[in-house]
Point group: C2
Chain length 430, copies 2
């Protein structure tokens, strides 16, 4: 019998490398807390000689991660490559089939293949843990699976992407435009230097919402697209106008059971500055659950970066070292139900609409008539003339209306020569 728990780390980027260092530093503490001695016996990455923040032991380096299982007895594998398919999927699959426990921060993988991989883990009687895949250092998955376990959760939502929250906060604070703040975020390491698209377009937050839904409602991961919008179209003008109205733009992920159907979405929202969610700023993440009997629970913390992520990866490790095998999604896979999706067309919100128009008589009337035709009633109009250029900005806050009405109503404005751009739409959170 091996008296060590053998660990392999595949992927030595920012996160894998930080984790490698943490595991080495915290061996003693982990032994005290769990009674188990851990040993990193294999590491793998694309480039053996890449410059890394923490020095790695090249004697245990494998160029091909799939070889590891053939040459060493591994108990726990950390996957920190981060692809939704390809080698990430292959390595996790292989590990589980070889009865190796898997820990991963890979939300793209879990959101896409979580159901299949959970089943595979259960079949092989090993754990698949992914606390770090949602909201970095916030132990939200464990809270739902364990701390709030027997509650009936009806809604889970929050700020799930630190990059976009940083950008929105910074734009409001400094008055700098999107491109400038994005560059700053990239310099600070908050946004991917190469391709920040998956953060900005809501994809990253959407993967997290899918995982949260599955855990909160004991359902299979939904395949439906629902509404996914990022912050690419949010302009400084909108942030400034919102601020004057006591509102703030936040990219929210929302998952809710409406009439027994699952509604999942990620889109920018206008929230009141006086609310809790309106004051979660910078790179902070926050997740709010509404459950019975517990009521509303809020978890807030740093959502990204190697420190918080590593905190969650190690909590997964301790969970495996301390306990028996657990169901990856809290209940057996065969008890997780498929759930019908809510029809997005019926999603209802008050809207913020911003029109850039020629400052001509009749234009406002054209807009309000069009709104009235689709039974969208106006709560507030703010018209700001730009006399020099004979233009004007018209901002309209509407009463609640459905997605389908809003979409149909706005479609016509593509063609009108007095409407200079297709109107900006931001939903109000209520």
């Amino acid at each position: 019998m091996n008296k060590f728990t053998n660990i392999a780390i595949v992927g030595l980027g920012q996160i894998g490398n930080y984790l490698y260092n943490e595991l080495n530093n915290k061996k003693k503490e982990i032994e005290i807390k769990t009674g188990k001695k851990i040993k990193i016996v294999a590491i793998s990455a694309k480039n053996k000689n890449k410059k890394r923040k923490f020095k790695i032991d090249k004697k245990i380096f494998y160029s091909d991660p799939l070889i590891i299982f053939k040459s060493k007895k591994i108990d726990i594998l950390f996957e920190s490559i981060g692809q939704s398919d390809g080698i990430s999927k292959k390595i996790v699959e292989t590990a589980l089939k070889n009865k190796v426990n898997v820990i991963t921060p890979n939300k793209a993988l879990i959101a896409k293949h979580g159901d299949y991989l959970a089943k595979l883990a259960e079949k092989n009687n090993v754990n698949l843990e992914f606390e770090a895949s949602v909201a970095g250092g916030i132990p939200i998955l464990r809270a739902i699976k364990e701390g709030l376990a027997t509650n009936k959760i009806n809604k889970v939502y929050g700020i799930l992407n630190g990059t976009t929250n940083y950008i929105l906060t910074e734009m409001e604070k400094t008055g700098e435009n999107f491109d400038k703040v994005l560059k700053k975020a990239q310099l600070l390491g908050y946004a991917e230097p190469g391709n920040p698209k998956l953060d900005l377009n809501g994809f990253d937050a959407f993967a997290k919402i899918r995982i949260l839904s599955a855990l909160s409602f004991n359902t299979k991961i939904s395949k439906n697209r629902c509404i996914m919008e990022g912050i690419e179209n949010i302009r400084l003008d909108d942030i400034k106008i919102a601020s004057q109205l006591g509102l703030r733009v936040k990219l929210l992920g929302i998952s809710e059971i409406i009439n027994g159907q699952l509604f999942e979405t990620v889109h920018p929202c206008l929230v009141s500055k006086n609310t809790y969610i309106g004051n979660v700023n910078g790179v902070m993440n926050a997740v709010i659950t509404e459950g019975k009997p517990v009521g509303e629970s809020i978890l807030q913390g740093e959502g990204a970066g190697p420190g918080p992520t590593s905190s969650s990866l190690l909590s997964d490790l301790l969970s495996i070292l301390r306990g028996k095998t657990k169901y990856p999604f809290g209940i057996p896979s065969n008890k997780r139900k498929s759930i019908k999706s809510f029809n997005n067309d019926n999603y209802t919100n008050s809207l913020y609409l911003r029109f850039e128009v020629n400052d001509k008589q009749g234009v406002l009337l054209l807009i309000t008539n069009r709104l009235a035709k689709f039974k969208i009633s106006v709560k507030r109009i703010i018209q700001t003339p730009d006399k020099k250029n004979k233009k004007a900005t018209i901002v309209i806050i509407t009463h609640k209306t459905t997605e389908i009405n809003a979409k149909s109503c706005l479609s016509i404005f593509k063609k009108n020569k007095n409407i200079l751009k297709f109107p900006i739409l931001i939903r109000l959170y209520n």
Copy 2:
């Protein structure tokens, strides 16, 4: 072998009775999540025939809870009597010695005898779980023990008592005085109808802080008194003045490692209305931890009432049903260190001081001279005359000073005939 996990509930007050009902309702769900069938085989309370919200099965009722262990095989005991000693201690002790797992929301018991009981549980290889003892439905203990397990936590603080937070919030909102709002809290079930003293004087929050310290810092439960103040001396006047200054009164529990020494306190604080903690209102609780590498984590939720408490009790139950035996405080008792206490005299804060004085020349000078003598420098003075009565209110916000300086400085004002009451002191949170 018994295919059921046998459960006993001792104490059928508001919480025990609610729990009894929840356990019966959620049997199926618990079986799905853990694979274990539970059965309530014994209940006990002072009064068998008391009117309860949920009907109990009198066939399994025991007048003397200590008999239970002699007549039935119990796997898990819920203790919900709530005394720090007496029968609560006796029953928990007896259970652990009989190798019965114990779950309790009893913070007074754990804060006083937690070290001893944890050792007893470890010796007998059973679990002692007390998630519900701190912050009701918020899974904060599990977060510290598991979700944030390998972080080095340096500070933990928050709003730990829903009753006092409700009272302070309501006083500010309605402008009603302490006594009136307390009565309302009692009517709503937020404060004990008979004796709300332990909530109001900070004792309840202090017990919770002790438990949080022990878990956060891996130390033994401290026996030192430190500073414990409740909200009994907070007057509506102070709340109103604070509000004008952009501040809000909150009863905070704070535990921190300062220069390697433990500092624990509960006292009212003035916090900015713009901060997170300043916006945790009503019966809400919030706990904030500062750890490395995770950074700041916030958990917020309903802190009291049978629903949230029962949510935590059931999370303890699932933890026992799912896993192996765990250390009650996250690490073995013999690894938990004693820690020296920080000298309260050196605790440093800005102060809010309110003096009721005779409106005579020289009184303000008397006060400021006295402050100067103790090197307490003044940041702000607000003097409000009450000409009709020839009195005045003087509010002084000071720069930072130590407890010992503040105490010595204020002592003289007991004797001065122009100072009509001993000054009100509220520390500013910084």
